[in-house]
């Protein structure tokens, strides 16, 4: 199921950016990599980063923001009327 997870999510494109990482605050604890069910957080060397195409794959759960105790991840919801649509939530 995990392999085809993207095909199970519907989205409306066009939101402005809604997740930002402040690399100077990131302490590489790695929690965002663990809890993001969509696997959008990655690390390269000693830096965490979020996939370029996160806006078209994020399900807006906010888990990355919640676990980031270093306060390096800024998250707010996408623009009104954009982003994920749960038809059968």
């Amino acid at each position: 199921m995990r392999a085809d997870i993207d095909s199970l999510v519907t989205r409306i494109a066009g939101s402005s950016d809604f997740i930002k990482l402040d690399s100077t605050k990131c302490n590489m604890c790695g929690r965002c990599l663990v809890v993001c069910t969509m696997g959008l957080w990655k690390k390269k060397g000693k830096k965490a980063y979020i996939a370029d195409d996160y806006k078209s794959r994020c399900v807006e759960c906010g888990a990355c923001y919640q676990v980031c105790e270093a306060d390096a991840i800024d998250f707010h919801y996408p623009s009104g009327g954009k982003g994920v649509v749960y038809e059968r939530g």
């Binding site: 199921m1 997870i5 199970l8 919801y77 059968r88």
Partner: protein, 466 residues
């Protein structure tokens, strides 16, 4: 700047009831929803608890005509999955004889999709006169002299009024009002879930009215399965402190069970949607309000401490917030001190009653279904030994009973500390002084070895003779 009495952020169950109750009290009310319609951003199990029918009279108007996804969760199955991934047994249960009112006698939960339910609920608020603004993200709180006086939306539009934060678990209102930046990691859970499509007739034929299930397991945190008119949800969660790998790994452990796969085949169930959502789950809500701001529902941390039912608590706290808002506005005092009344109000409700034993309830859930490796790994075989051990033809029945007892005894070193740490404190809190005798750990520890000894000798001796 637009002036209102009450500005509600969020049109989930908490926001819609707050807006409805505020409008019913003659307050000029607006509520905001970032989705194009209420509900399209929200995911739940989603069973509605029967207390909603006693506290909100309009609930009897919820019918399949207005909410096509409805299906009563009349009976529930508890599957017990062992370490080997085998369903070692299951129990089916319906509302018991002690359940005291309708509709709780007829169903455990009423199952609905949020995309049906939330818009239906929001319509009661707009009918009462509250203004609903959809497709609008509220981005900030408006301050004057360092005091919150209203909100600002993504277009820079400003709205003045008492702010009710009904904006859910990742609450901008909580953050910007200084009430909470983020939850403690063990006060909030992450819950991924799949929706499967199933032909309604097949659900009727195969499941009957057994349309709720909990998968208790030693391999994954307890998973729930909730059937709707034409599909079901399968989901599971745990606190943020617990996850050691992608939560989907654990959800897929359920999907992979042979037993589950067989169910998928006979139901001809097809994966249709995927959701992930946070859910606050804590023993006692704190920081629920400040000057000119009240938090309701998930934003305030109100889901039930045992099973995290959150829709009813959101509605109850939404109502309490609107009542307090009306009092505060008519007294021209929306200070934190005046709004302290809010805590006293919700504490007097059925939700307040729940939170009297909140820490104990949350602790037991954490220690049992949400500790698959530590607890469920012995709990499942122990329960199944008791439930299934007797119905067995491998020995004369008296010998079997002794075998079962001896086997159960093997689990006592784990079960006894578990009961003392998690079950007795809860019973003590609920039953009060009458529990004195049983809940004194000293007395219990003192008598335990004798008790074990007695059980052991009784059975072992006879076993030899048998």
């Amino acid at each position: 700047m637009k002036n209102y009495d009450v500005v509600v952020v969020g049109a989930g169950p908490g926001g819609s009831i707050a807006a409805m109750e505020a409008a019913n009290r003659g307050l000029k009310t607006i509520f905001f929803e970032r989705g194009r319609r209420p509900g399209e951003k929200n995911s739940s199990g989603c069973g509605l608890g029967p207390r909603m029918w006693t506290d909100f009279r309009f609930m009897k108007e919820l019918t399949p005509e207005v909410c096509p996804s409805m299906r009563a969760g009349a009976a529930s199955r508890s599957y017990f999955v062992n370490k080997q991934g085998v369903v070692a047994g299951y129990v089916m249960a319906r509302p018991t004889e002690s359940v005291s009112y309708e509709p709780a006698k007829s169903f455990i939960t009423m199952n609905v999709y949020r995309s049906d339910f939330d818009p239906w609920l929001a319509a009661f608020a707009t009918k009462a006169g509250a203004e609903l603004k959809t497709s609008t993200l509220v981005t900030g709180l408006l301050r004057e002299n360092d005091r919150v006086v209203g909100i600002i939306d993504e277009h820079g539009e400003k709205y003045r009024g008492l702010v009710i934060g009904a904006d859910g678990v990742v609450s901008m209102v909580a953050r910007q009002s200084g009430l909470r930046m983020r939850w403690d990691q063990d006060h909030v859970t992450l819950v991924p879930q799949y929706d499967f499509a199933v032909d309604p007739q097949r659900i009727d034929d195969i499941m009957g009215d057994e349309t709720l299930a909990v998968w208790w397991s030693a391999l994954f945190p307890a998973a729930y399965q909730v059937f709707f008119h034409d599909g079901f949800h399968l989901g599971l969660g745990n606190w943020m402190t617990w996850w050691d790998k992608n939560p989907l790994y654990y959800l897929d452990q359920v999907v992979k069970l042979d037993y589950f796969q067989r169910l998928v085949r006979v139901l001809d169930a097809r994966p249709r949607e995927y959701h992930a959502h946070l859910l606050p789950w804590l023993g006692s809500p704190g920081n629920t309000h400040t000057d000119n701001v009240i938090l309701v529902g998930d934003a305030g941390g109100f889901p039930c401490p045992l099973e995290a039912e959150g829709i009813y608590p959101a509605m109850i706290t939404g109502r309490a917030a609107a009542e307090v808002a009306a009092d505060a506005i008519s007294s021209s005092d929306t200070s934190k001190e005046f709004l302290d009344l809010y805590d006293r109000k919700w504490q007097q409700t059925s939700i307040g009653e729940e939170f009297k034993t909140g820490p104990e309830l949350a602790r037991i859930w954490r220690a049992l279904p949400f500790s698959p490796k530590e607890t469920m790994s012995w709990f499942v075989p122990m329960i199944m030994e008791i439930l299934g051990g007797i119905l067995d033809w491998s020995q004369p029945h008296a010998v079997r009973v002794r075998q079962v007892m001896r086997h159960v005894k093997l689990y006592l070193p784990q079960a006894v500390p578990f009961i003392m740490r998690n079950v007795l404190p809860l019973l003590e809190k609920i039953l009060g002084e009458r529990m004195d005798m049983l809940t004194s750990p000293e007395k219990l520890i003192a008598s335990m070895p004798e008790l074990q000894e007695a059980i052991a000798s009784a059975f072992e001796e006879k076993e030899e003779r048998a």
